[in-house]
Symmetry: C2
Subunit: 348 residues, 2 copies
């Protein structure tokens, strides 16, 4: 995995692009004007590991609420704005850390100039967010709903900002179709070196949406593409953050809590492995220890995988052997396996 080179930019106190870790982003689904609910949700998101949060800004009241929200949260805040440049100016005046806005969609060159000037003054980046569901008519007519069309749309908006000598840019290209999304980002990564915010949009409910996002974002990250990620789910956004971290952990890009390995069980399994793995997972859910724990059912692959973990357990007939960093340290009756494993984890 070789990372695609992008320039570094700052979003509040967070830096993305360059050699910075891939950042986890989410979006509130509260009414932004309801600052109490919005602040509460952002705090829950931050506690789950969200590093950048976006809020919808549909009107002036929402734009003004940003100051109040910013005062109560500790992670950078992004304003999601469509069509109305005045909302961007209000959000900026209220201390927003990043604006998501497509400069070609806010009316006139004068409007764009005003937003860009305010962003420059405050060192606030603009994310250009291309979505296949809302391409410019002209581009869609020429290229269809293709990866190429998304890239052309991004280049159009980038061009507007570059003409104003503004380069504090992040770009996203979203579609619900996974291969088209991957193709679009790969094309754009060859054309520009701005940081890329990656996501599969309208991925759906958790049952299928988690999988679509993991396939799409995983494939892009493995290609070294992606500086911030967002998992979009029709669900509580806290779940988006959990899934984003699992994707980053699966590729060893970031560490976040425990990495639990457990086998699928089969006709060889002689202990209650599903129950044991669930208990271990539940116990470790809140842990921030960056360790790998293996819970394995049998003697075929069990000891090998268990040995590679910081702490591992391999089941046998009514008993389990516990491994610590490659060495078997004890064999205990099955009914003591959970307690003994936890004891060893807590000793680390």
């Amino acid at each position: 995995m070789k990372r695609h080179h992008t320039k570094e930019i700052a979003i509040g106190q967070i830096r993305i692009g360059g050699r910075n870790p891939v950042a986890v982003q989410s979006m509130t689904n509260t009414d932004t004007r309801d600052t109490k609910s919005t602040i509460a949700q952002i705090k829950k998101l931050a506690a789950a590991g969200c590093e950048i949060v976006r809020v919808a800004v549909p009107d002036e009241t929402a734009a003004k609420a940003i100051g109040k929200i910013k005062a109560k949260i500790s992670i950078p805040l992004v304003a999601d704005i469509h069509f109305n440049y005045n909302l961007a100016l209000t959000a900026l005046a209220n201390g927003v850390d990043k604006i998501r806005l497509n400069p070609g969609n806010i009316g006139s060159a004068k409007n764009t100039g005003a937003v860009v000037a305010a962003c420059k003054e405050r060192n606030v980046p603009i994310r250009i967010g291309v979505n296949i569901g809302s391409l410019e008519k002209k581009i869609e007519t020429r290229y269809g709903r293709t990866a190429q069309a998304m890239v052309e749309s991004a280049l159009y908006h980038i061009g507007i900002l570059e003409k104003l000598n503004f380069h504090n840019i992040v770009i996203s290209l979203k579609a619900s179709d996974v291969p088209r999304t991957i193709e679009a980002y790969a094309m754009l990564a060859k054309a520009v070196d701005y940081p890329l915010h990656i996501g599969i949009t309208e991925a759906g409910t958790p049952k299928s949406g988690i999988i679509k996002s993991a396939v799409g974002l995983g494939t892009l990250l493995y290609q070294g593409i992606g500086d911030t990620i967002r998992v979009s789910l029709t669900a509580d956004p806290v779940e988006e953050v959990r899934v984003a971290w699992e994707i980053l952990k699966a590729l060893n890009l970031r560490q976040h809590g425990v990495n639990l390995i457990s086998c699928p069980t089969c006709g060889r399994t002689e202990i209650d492995l599903i129950g044991l793995a669930r208990r271990v997972e539940k116990y470790l859910a809140g842990s921030h220890k960056p360790i790998t724990v293996a819970v394995m059912g049998c003697v075929v692959n069990g000891p090998g995988e268990a040995k590679e973990a910081d702490i591992g357990l391999a089941g046998g007939r009514n008993r389990a052997t516990i491994f610590k960093r490659g060495r078997a340290i004890k064999t205990v009756p099955a009914e003591l396996a959970f307690d003994e494993l936890i004891k060893e984890i807590n000793r680390l």
Copy 2:
């Protein structure tokens, strides 16, 4: 996505490799000797879309049970065998469709010769299953627990079979570490043209295991690697099959039931989208219609995505517009949205 070329082989009535669709595989976690439970689980797996099923064969009773199981199921059956070549011979005599066995691990050249002769006679393929947890000592000492070591181990076992002029081979290279697994398959795909069975082993409980598998298998499939897939989860194997299908659907490699697109909701959403999407998902769960349904919350990207689906819905303030293959066909009050959407889906 250009598919890596592999030779075609037959597993019972199913063909894999070449231009055949990527097949979905799973493994029972019942005691194979308990034929009643094993048959019942295989029927549930087949109903969920499992196309090839593997059972553990730890002893002669299990090997003999294969005849009884085969008589009651309609999908090809694979016997998972370790160390004991007699179990392979019994499984073959009982009509098994594929053997998962590493020829270097069954004692002697004579033993391997006997298994290969029986496989040739019945046109039964052998899957060489390399697992990083059980590498040959010599290979692990030389290469460590690396992707290269897994490939060397596979080539060692392949060599044994090729010397016996046996080429009816499938290969898997499994590790719980996702990047190492991807790297190993990519290396092996350059070296051989046998069909590849791909999986992330010991992926863990559904919460993280689904994501590890989707990232790993998705990345490989996007590179054109993989002729059969197995998702390993510490859970009911029916869930493995569901996840495998979602991965294949995410990359447009196979169609299986409805593709549901829905947006993540945000501060712009003015209808109960999470509830609506869940109801639609639940209603369509058993459906085999190969259609795309979009359930979208707002006017920014909603109509665009909804238009691309076979049937789509875009919410607004207390109302929803229904789209059919690109055309808005009606706008209804929010409380009728579910019924009207389902009515249109059933009309397709």
